[in-house]
Subunit: 82 residues, 2 copies
């Protein structure tokens, strides 16, 4: 399954808010065959990076939109380093 | 030690080129008390994400500059999800 990294910008809220939003992703992701694997938050700048596996960029976008409405500004299909 | 995610844009070269550059980072990082932990490459768009621990953004930038000269466009101090 392809791997993707997305970038959210200018997100308001604390790290714990993002943790809660991520839990909503985990509840929703199965409907789109997506697995959110990890995320990283720059709380000062409101930037969030999400790493997920799934069939397409759009699948990840659907999960975010339906789980909490916070969609990403960019989604990159990536290969993980080794 | 703080954790950082950087973003490189418009990088030319293959995934394997990035693997080789990363090896150069690993050889250099000890001089700056940095640990490059992982990276992700969007080969089509030339976008690279590097995750590293270190004392500062600048420490990571020094490693990249001295190892191979490819510095990042952005460096974000991040908290990793759980």
């Amino acid at each position: 399954m392809p791997l993707f990294m997305d970038i959210h910008r200018d997100v308001e809220g604390s790290f714990e808010d993002v943790v809660e939003a991520h839990k909503m992703d985990l509840e929703k992701q199965g409907e789109y065959d997506v697995e959110y694997k990890n995320f990283w938050v720059d709380e000062d700048e409101g930037t969030i990076f999400c790493l997920f596996e799934g069939p397409s960029k759009e699948a990840g976008e659907h999960v975010h939109r339906e789980a909490h409405g916070l969609t990403a500004e960019e989604i990159h299909e990536v290969t993980e380093g080794h």
